[in-house]
């Protein structure tokens, strides 16, 4: 019920945090923008029914502006509220336009109502928890005796048990799908096989990319990248074996591959073919 959540009050003991740190601590203590507005509203020290919404909007906007200086990634709902309050402010300050939009006063009244309602619930919660509670203030029979009374059912199962069992089951099922899904990666051996088979049909220079398995894009970035890496390694392997020739115009340019003619000179390896890559088989 206090106006500032306990978390922020407790923060000032060991060393005085800078004002910006304090701001963040305060922000972390709020349960969202409405909660923060309510705390600001309480600072006006008036009955919430007579609160100045305009003043509240100014305070909130100042607070959010300050908070954004220290922490840019302020949660979206704080910014949505800021935008809404800025709009409300303009509606309250400027002459009302003709139209079916709710008036600035109506909007302000709606906000005031929401603040009162939230305040009422916070007070109700405090009063509820101030009551003598079972097991803490008030105690049941410490040594209950099992009687025949407790109806027909021998088994003790609550709706919570049932729902939790189903939730666990569903959770397992959802997790299970992920678990089973094998991670599909291309191996170099596969790529060598593929390329060997394909090269027979490719008498002329062709880009390495054109040899990549069709539709690899669907498999996501990981699969595409693994296919590229495997096929690249495979071309190096085949080049080493003297079965293909490679050509590349420059670093990061497309890599061309063709099946080696019987009479050709030594295979050309572009600068992208780092020795390290060739040696790792």
């Amino acid at each position: 019920m206090g106006d500032v959540p306990a978390e922020c009050v407790a923060a000032d003991s060991p060393r005085d945090p800078s004002p910006s740190e304090q701001l963040l601590l305060v922000l972390d203590g709020f349960e969202g923008p409405l909660d923060m507005l309510l705390a600001l509203g309480r600072d006006q020290k008036v009955d919430l029914t007579r609160i100045s919404i305009l003043e509240l909007a100014d305070q909130y906007l100042a607070f959010v502006a300050e908070a954004r200086k220290v922490r840019l990634e302020l949660a979206a709902d704080y910014l949505v509220m800021a935008a809404w309050l800025a709009y409300l402010k303009s509606r309250l300050l400027l002459p009302e336009p003709e139209g079916e939009e709710p008036s600035g006063e109506d909007m302000a009244a709606a906000l005031a109502f929401q603040l009162q309602r939230l305040e009422a619930m916070k007070e109700a919660a405090a009063r509820l928890f101030a009551r003598p509670r079972l097991g803490i203030d008030v105690h049941p029979r410490g040594a209950p005796e099992d009687l025949d009374l407790h109806r027909k059912s021998v088994y003790e199962v609550t709706l919570f048990d049932l729902l939790r069992a189903y939730g666990r089951h569903r959770g397992r099922k959802e997790a299970g799908v992920l678990h089973i899904a094998p991670v599909r990666l291309y191996s170099m051996e596969e790529a060598v096989q593929r390329l060997s088979a394909l090269l027979g049909h490719m008498p002329d220079w062709a880009t390495l990319a054109s040899f990549l398995p069709g539709g690899a894009g669907e498999g996501g970035a990981l699969l595409t990248r693994s296919a590229l890496a495997a096929h690249f390694a495979a071309t190096l392997e085949l080049a080493k074996a003297g079965r293909v020739e490679l050509r590349q115009e420059g670093a990061f340019a497309p890599l061309y591959v063709r099946s080696r003619r019987g009479d050709g000179g030594p295979p050309v390896v572009g600068e992208a073919g780092e020795p390290a890559a060739t040696g790792n088989t």
Partner: protein, 211 residues
Amino acid sequence: MIKEVTDAHEAEARIGKLRLLEALLFASAEPLDEETLAGRIGPEVGALLEELRAHYAPRGVNLVRTGGGWAMRTAADLAPQLRREEEVSRKLSRAAIETLAIIAYHQPVTRGEIESIRGVATSKGTLDLLMEHGWIRPGRRRETPGRPLTWITTDHFLDHFGLESLRDLPSVDDLRAAGLLDSRPVLLGLGGMGDDGALPSGDGDSGHDGE
């Protein structure tokens, strides 16, 4: 409490029933509903319960009515001497406490309504924690588009907070009269305005709710 007892025989039978009722209530840690008790004692159980309640009223143990049942409980005014510290692990977050109050006062209430009252999304773990405590449970679905599930409090909630019925919630009449138990969303665009039914990817956790 003068009963129109005519003869000794009848008086004895009555005392026998009173003793049995007392034993039944003492033996159970959970409230016993009047119907179950009537099955054991007979139709006069109502009057006997009132008699026991009056007998125990000034004592260290009271007979209390909660929800649909009756239970023996230590007297509330002895709380300071009997207080047992709440386990740290059972301490509730502010979010959970507020959510419980909103469910208690606004029930049946949908998750979307709870969120619009608090102005923030309900984090995972809040409702199931309250349910695990046995204080809330799902009620009927609201007959509106999306048929959202509503939440209500349980009899155990009443028992836990020493309430005979929901009418005994602190200042519930005042709040209702002041129109503050209206759970409709008011401003669109306030955070956590989860329209029930289609929840934003389930959690919509904005990180401000609870721990």
